[in-house]
Symmetry: C2
Subunit: 327 residues, 2 copies
Amino acid sequence: MHALILGAAGMIGRRLTDALAQSGSLGGQALDALTLVDVVTPAVPDALAGRVTAQAADLSGTGAAETAIAGRPDVIFHLAAVVSGEAEADFEKGYRINLDSTRLLFEAIRQAHLAEGYRPRVVFTSSLAVFGAPLPPVIGDDMILTPASSYGTQKAMGELLLSDYTRRGFLDGIGLRLPTICVRPGKPNKAASGFFSGIIREPLAGQEAVLPVPDTVRHWFASPRAATDFLVHAAGIDLAPLGQRRNLTMPGVSATVAEEIEALRRVAGERAVALIRREPDPAILRIIETWPEAFATERALGLGFRADPSFDAIVALHIAETGAGPA
Amino acid sequence: MHALILGAAGMIGRRLTDALAQSGSLGGQALDALTLVDVVTPAVPDALAGRVTAQAADLSGTGAAETAIAGRPDVIFHLAAVVSGEAEADFEKGYRINLDSTRLLFEAIRQAHLAEGYRPRVVFTSSLAVFGAPLPPVIGDDMILTPASSYGTQKAMGELLLSDYTRRGFLDGIGLRLPTICVRPGKPNKAASGFFSGIIREPLAGQEAVLPVPDTVRHWFASPRAATDFLVHAAGIDLAPLGQRRNLTMPGVSATVAEEIEALRRVAGERAVALIRREPDPAILRIIETWPEAFATERALGLGFRADPSFDAIVALHIAETGAGPA
Ligand SMILES: NC(=O)c1ccc[n+]([C@@H]2O[C@H](COP(=O)([O-])OP(=O)(O)OC[C@H]3O[C@@H](n4cnc5c(N)ncnc54)[C@H](O)[C@@H]3O)[C@@H](O)[C@H]2O)c1
Ligand SMILES: NC(=O)c1ccc[n+]([C@@H]2O[C@H](COP(=O)([O-])OP(=O)(O)OC[C@H]3O[C@@H](n4cnc5c(N)ncnc54)[C@H](O)[C@@H]3O)[C@@H](O)[C@H]2O)c1
């Protein structure tokens, strides 16, 4: 079994690399080879040394996709993307990296299919950003995609390409709309969604966190571990039950900011909660209000994808993984 | 008022050209200039001679979109496309013409927007082919797009681009998912949908028509006149009520094959109906079964788009326009 991770140096790519290195297998088969590609040179995990190739490449460049798949990997995880804020700030870059790189990848696979019958499993990471207001309180699997950002538009177009290339037999694709990752490790960032993680991560580290929206705001979350598990699961399962609809919203935990704070209080007490400073930001609220709140993800559940059990479990996982936590 | 029709030599493009020539106005303003572009040189209507420029151009070629919009038309009708069968038979051509030409057009407009603040109304023709089985009997405005053809995929991607370019302020777009046009004028063709028109058109002309599916098959129709009216209406209305959702399924007439035949019988009698020869074709049935049957088109109705009143009216219109009909 040969796996390829595109965007391997990113937050999820690094975790997926580590998960594969630890298990040494994928889809019930031994992992003989792992290729890691990112515009930033990906780190090679010790456990797989000798079986890993790491490439630094811009996947929007000519020939980069061909080089990346030259070893004909059985499974391709396509995680490479620029995130929402960057795709909105730089229109051309967003389309070049999020749309054109995806199409170049699928085209490289199609050419190899036509030449040699190559037909890899492709796991594509889409996003909740494909959904835009007005939205029902609980979004079903048949909801129209009406993205309210260029990033969401590019992900929705990637989903359509994935379906069509799969239908035509060029590849065997599955697209996963990942919930918002929480608790996102690392430093606070400028993403509009940053506070969802910040109000847990910062207080647990004894630092102040700013909360720019009311406690009633509700959203859809998965831990970094759950997201990694989704990708690994998607690589190994039989996709025939999906028919031609190859894109799925992933199960998640629906929680309000108030419920997040209660989970923090249960683990870390009043002192941690007191580090959350309410500083309403109408600009952030206007963005967040257009986001989905909760989903009914029957198709993904039917295929065996499983959400974190609760927001408390998401917080506990963060503490276990980072060593952060109540003094 | 300057209008541009891309795909002006096509079935709908020619009718739209004639409609504009006849009314001499668009959106309540006098039509000072009309530019017609198609890969086949479009015919210039007498009524507008002197105000019309006709160009033969392949819109997937470098610079073609820039040339087409050089006169900075106020309204652009984007009808140029290769149809379903061709896009399925020639994968690369379908993507090049249906997707790349659309993106090249929008990019040319965006560059003119950045340079001079240009921001035309763009009317894009999408299709029911954006919907694919399994589908509910009546499809609402919030139904997910899951195309079962490359043509449908390309139209769905065009819709997403139209929305994003509109949201960013580069153009003022509206996408119309046209019902299947019936009675389509002209000769019988090989399209899977051809019989829907054929079983009316051929018997009215005293010729035999083949019916490859059962009488119970139901589908969604608009006359060529209704389709032209949708385009003209879309060019002139205020789109603010649409918010960010700029793509609409057009109202139509939902009719079964049996209802089509009854309409034919009422107008042209038993002798015409007897010209329909039942010759079941499982391959055609398999395609048709994945197609939508009926829609609830509240958003389009709310904006003033109106369907043909009945299937009888569709037949009557065909007779009035072509002179075909009962002896
Ligand atoms: N984190 C989330 O909450 C979330 C939610 C939904 C979807 N996703 C999607 O999951 C995927 C991974 O997310 P992440 O949080 O790890 O993001 P990330 O930004 O940490 O990782 C993305 C990686 O892609 C790489 N990349 C960007 N442009 C590239 C190019 N041209 N060529 C090669 N590599 C390039 C970046 O260097 C980065 O390492 C992305 O596709 C993202 O859109 C993430
Ligand atoms: N007729 C229907 O039932 C129906 C239904 C839904 C949507 N539509 C859409 O409506 C539009 C018009 O449909 P129609 O029935 O008139 O189709 P048509 O095939 O008669 O017309 C399309 C025109 O586009 C032109 N064209 C193709 N490639 C071109 C290129 N590269 N550069 C320039 N011109 C090019 C063709 O020469 C043709 O004249 C199309 O976009 C079609 O997909 C039609």
